[in-house]
């Protein structure tokens, strides 16, 4: 059977060997395409690795416990909560009454026979080498098995008696103190010895010290209040371990009846059906999860940025392909003499883009993986949290790789069409065909540039849409590209007074307008545009603030 793709096989073969024969030019284009691919694949990998699975998230939030129970501070009135414990509201309607206030009897909310570990934190100003540092003071028996996973010990050990504390590595870094140093808080004479350093896997950059329960916050609070200063604003939550199937949804609902909010591992791993969630069954409940409109806008913005980046690369790499096609003219002429149609010539030049795009995809993603792997500690530091796991998503990397292939192909389109328009004879003899510079092109370019600038200005001033701004920029840029040959010609006419070598260079540019790259693109960076997805989400009457680690939440 005869098939069109057989001729593509031949075209790709020629392109592949040519890319190998002219390594210098190939690697230049390859680098241009591979570099952004490297960046994007590394970013994908980093973000995906930083994204935690539910199990990993639960380990960071709950340690080895089954649940964390916290008091929303509404006087213990019954509440309804969402399965993840992020949203809750009182069962009763308090619209026309004063909001309940005060703490709940949290112990009543614990299931019978549960093991409890109190987790308290407040804040104070600690004396460091560089002055006072406002620091989270955390009180928890870190040696309790339930606390396993909440923090990772670095040097030394966790405190095991009064007067000892451990500090986060970040705190040690910012404070200039080290394991073994003594430390005091403003307003309290007691000295604490730092016996160890640790990190919070989800918040590497937090400044925090850890003391045994009752040894730091209470005395400090008392001393501060005695001086008439604001106290430590300490609040507690409770890590709970139960026997059996963990802290079930039914147990959560019972705790809710006592006014407590629960984050449960068992519930997070197997959330109850909506019909079993009283909060979701209420008429006055609505889900303020990210709206689809915001999501669409985000996708459009990402698409626009990627599109613009590809356009820039194409404009830079295009001339390299044009030079390649010019250099291999005789070869293309021979293909023509042997029956190569225009589409075959196009296929060969396009295959050049395909081959380099493919190589760039492989090199870019491989280097992206490698770099992320090697630089993992640095990236984790930068992100401020430890990766859950090294999360390679083959499909996403494939998509990113496809972008490289597409970029290569797009960059080769114009050179391919130009090369295929040459007559076989002109290619073979190296004669230049009679080439009139197009009269339409500069006019189109001028119009496109003007229109593009207008659209961009309109988009930036009158609307919020990044898509309009970016689209306008792209249009103006393409317009300038279309204008380039005319501009180069114009400069050529003005170049008579130049000294010899620039005059020759200019004449060369004028005679080879196709490969002369466009001037540096006009840039209206997309991030200048006001972005819709940064606008604050609609306010809710319910607390949907992300839970602080220790669960002090307030209702507006």
């Amino acid at each position: 059977m005869n098939h069109w793709y057989h001729s593509w096989v031949a075209a790709v073969r020629i392109a592949r060997r040519d890319a190998w024969r002219f390594k210098g030019r190939s690697s230049l284009v390859l680098a241009m395409i591979a570099l952004p691919i490297l960046g994007v694949s590394a970013a994908d990998l980093t973000l995906r690795s930083a994204e935690l699975s539910t199990e990993q998230q639960m380990e960071r939030d709950l340690g080895a416990a089954d649940a964390r129970v916290s008091d929303p501070g509404m006087g213990g009135v019954p509440i309804h909560q969402s399965p993840d414990g992020r949203n809750y509201m009182t069962v009763e309607n308090f619209d026309n009454k004063p909001w309940p206030d005060g703490s709940a009897d949290i112990r009543a909310a614990f299931p019978a026979g549960a093991k409890i570990l109190k987790d308290t934190s407040g804040s104070g100003k600690l004396r460091t080498e560089h002055g006072l540092l406002n620091t989270v003071i955390h009180e928890l028996d870190a040696t309790d098995p339930m606390a396993k996973g909440l923090m990772t010990l670095g040097q030394g050990r966790f405190p095991d008696k009064a007067g000892e504390i451990a500090a986060t590595a970040h705190f040690l870094e910012t404070s200039g103190l080290e394991v073994g140093s003594e430390l005091t808080a403003r307003g309290l004479a007691t000295e604490y010895r730092i016996v160890g350093s640790y990190e919070l896997p989800g918040a590497l950059k937090s400044d925090e010290v850890l003391a045994r329960p009752g040894t730091f916050l209470a005395p400090l609070d008392k001393a501060l209040k005695a001086d008439g200063l604001p106290g430590t604003a300490a609040g507690s939550t409770y890590l709970v371990s139960v026997d059996g199937d963990g802290f079930t949804w039914n147990m959560v609902k019972k705790a809710n009846a006592h006014g407590a909010v629960v984050t449960s591992r068992a519930v997070a791993l197997a959330p109850p059906a909506d019909s079993e969630v009283p909060l979701h069954q209420r008429d006055d409940w609505s889900d303020y999860e990210q709206s689809t409109a915001a999501r669409t806008a985000e996708l459009a913005a990402i698409g626009t940025v990627v599109g613009l980046a590809m356009l820039e690369i194409c404009l830079l790499a295009g001339p390299a392909f044009a030079v390649g096609a010019r250099r291999s003219r005789r070869q293309l002429g021979l293909v023509g003499a042997n029956g190569g149609d225009r589409r075959h010539i196009r296929a060969i030049v396009l295959s050049g883009g395909l081959v380099i795009g493919f190589a760039a995809a492989v090199v870019g993603t491989a280097l992206g993986l490698l770099l992320t792997f090697v630089l993992r500690p640095l990236l984790e530091d930068y992100m401020g949290q430890r990766f859950g796991s090294f999360d390679v998503r083959p499909l996403e990397l494939l998509g990113i790789g496809l972008l490289a292939v597409l970029t290569g192909l797009l960059a080769a389109i114009v050179p391919a069409v130009t090369a295929s328009r040459q007559t076989v004879l002109a290619s073979l003899t190296g004669r230049r065909g009679v080439r009139r510079s197009s009269r339409v092109l500069p006019v189109v370019g001028l119009i496109a540039t003007g229109l593009g600038i207008a659209i961009t200005l309109f988009g930036a001033t009158a609307t919020d849409s990044i898509v309009i701004v970016a689209g306008g920029s792209a249009l103006a840029e393409l317009g300038i590209v279309a204008l380039t040959p005319a501009l180069v010609g114009l400069f050529g006419k003005l170049g008579g007074w130049l000294p010899l070598s620039p005059r020759l260079a200019l004449r060369d540019a004028v005679r080879n307008r196709g490969r002369t790259p466009p001037p540096s693109p006009p840039c209206w960076p997309p991030w200048r545009a006001r972005s819709p997805w940064r606008r604050t989400p609609p306010a809710t009457t319910y607390s949907s603030a992300p839970p602080t680690r220790h669960g002090c939440r307030t209702v507006r």
Partner: protein, 262 residues
Amino acid sequence: MPESMPHTSHQPQQAFKSQQSQQPVLQLEELTRVHGSGATEVHALRGVNLSVFPGELVAVMGPSGSGKSTLLTIAGGLDSPTSGRVVVEGTDITTVGRKELAALRRRSIGYVFQDYNLIPALTAAENIALPRELDGVSARKARVSAVAALEEMGLGQLADRFPDEMSGGQQQRVAIARALVGDRRLVLADEPTGALDSETGESVLALLRARCDAGAAGILVTHEPRFAAWADRVVFLRDGSVVDETLRSQADSLLSGQAAAQ
């Protein structure tokens, strides 16, 4: 050169009775080609008639600028005539479109130029396979027939060599193999020996001759009388017109006479 020759033997029509019973592979009728216009007008061809039959090798000779290359490019459809007809395997190629012309070049017409005939990115076998691959034949099939063609010509050992790993003579022989691969049986050779020493040139022409004896039709442009001696017929061009046409037997004596005269 040609003007010194005696214009005696103007009877080629009579000589090819046996061949004329067959269809010519290539038929040029009243071919003219004018390059440029106005002051720079050049009449490269003025009313050329020529037929080439299967099994026949025709040499075209003439001074530089006499229109030999122009004749070949038009015969192969790389250039179009100002007037006249070019019939290849029964098809008037001056009337067909660009695509059909390319297809015709893939299937019917092979070129051999003076040098750099082979695509540097492809091995000998791949070069020979290319026209058929472009025609949509699978790479494997095309390669099999290409290797077979090479072996038939005693060039089997060249199959996997790239052009820059072959001598000039080897390259030209591979080019001849490519010109006649598949169904192609018209080879247009423009000074195929021009870049070779005479011994290598002889071996290249021997191959061309052998292919024509096997049924192909060929036009050979050359400056060298000793190479023209491989042809069945010699056509002399001067200023775009055929000034003489001789049979090989006569050409031999003519050429030796000419050599004696010099």
